[in-house]
Subunit: 256 residues, 2 copies
Amino acid sequence: MLLESLPTFMNKKKRQLEVCLTPAIYDKHANNENIVVVIDVLRATSSICTAFANGVRQIIPVATVEEARQKKEEGYTVASERDGYVLDFADFGNSPFNFSGDKVKDKDIVYSTTNGTRCIHMASHSKEVLIGSFLNLSALAGYLIEQDAPVLLFCASWKDRFSLEDTVCAGALAERLLASGKYESICDAVTASSDLWSIAKCDLNQYSLKAAQKGRLASKGLDDCIEFCHQLDFTDLIPYYSDGRLLSKANGTNKK
Amino acid sequence: MLLESLPTFMNKKKRQLEVCLTPAIYDKHANNENIVVVIDVLRATSSICTAFANGVRQIIPVATVEEARQKKEEGYTVASERDGYVLDFADFGNSPFNFSGDKVKDKDIVYSTTNGTRCIHMASHSKEVLIGSFLNLSALAGYLIEQDAPVLLFCASWKDRFSLEDTVCAGALAERLLASGKYESICDAVTASSDLWSIAKCDLNQYSLKAAQKGRLASKGLDDCIEFCHQLDFTDLIPYYSDGRLLSKANGTNKK
């Protein structure tokens, strides 16, 4: 049988899937063709997904306190913390519980987050930059399976160290993408994250208590959102980065 | 009961255990007090352990081809490869099978390895730098349990990317150290490596086939050593770094 006569789906080359475990090695995975999914489960990308689920119009991610302060002076609603404390000029902090409908619906919100913003900017050269978390897992997986590009799952981690919760979330996505038969991988971080997810998924809330970030948040009384951040499919919206701001789209094949 | 009256073993603070998954984030884990175990399962640290098991007197690790060539001119026996090919001036390549007794017994060997040498030099500020692999796992664990210092398990990885086989080996060591009750950890990479080891240990050889490095070695016909490198306790010797060379010591509590 000639190759040309094979049905398209058999003929099509599988897309590459990679996982980047820390921003410190992002350059080893970077590729302009990639769709990059930034994952910061505790708490940036979970908060962003929650905000869109609750009707925010757009989110402007900023890295520094000064940028956040300036945006506040321009009249924006600003979510901003440093070391777990809400900054004096900010409207509220960075927990997903702060992004409730009464605070964010139909608004433009400025969100100050060091790690998350840095990763979004690092990946902005890519074909597409999406925001991922457990909260929009199925929608995101469904969307990615429909695209035709290599995918990089980018764990924002904590100060460049390895983060368990981001890796497990990447593993949950990797499992779906590989199971679709449209992706393949020769990346050890895909194997590791998938295997960690295979352990964690039996009791995700229990497993999430192992994460070092749980202890860091608990020491500041900010760990009340951990269970919320580890629930699957709270929303079918997929936030994406475009021209300095985050907007969101739904994937037609998934519903809330 | 007063704290002072507790038996010493109950009173003693546990030592910290960390795992560094790639040299790119070594600075996040570095500490002059650390005992650092460099792990490069495929193949540098497995080859070094094999060489000492087979009677080598000392190994001089060098990073560059030029250093290796100069050492050859000085009369040393040199093991050196680049991209899987034995260099023309070298005596043999980097597989553990090359470090047989007839070639290395009572000799000083120069070993050229990019990743391994780099990691050894990066860690040389530490209290101690040891060479770890599956081949000396029990001896190493026994030795570390007897020491009184924080331990960092340092995965050499491949070109700064995450490596499955090094991480699983770190997990095997972490399991022993934590089980001793003398170590504790708040490092997510310790949790992840231990959990990966808990999956891998059921059939370590089968699991090792998942590693991307297996494919890289296979493409050059160099994968014949993978099963050998994944066997536990081939030797009770612990190579260590001192003044530009590797020597070895045995741990009294372990036997071959």
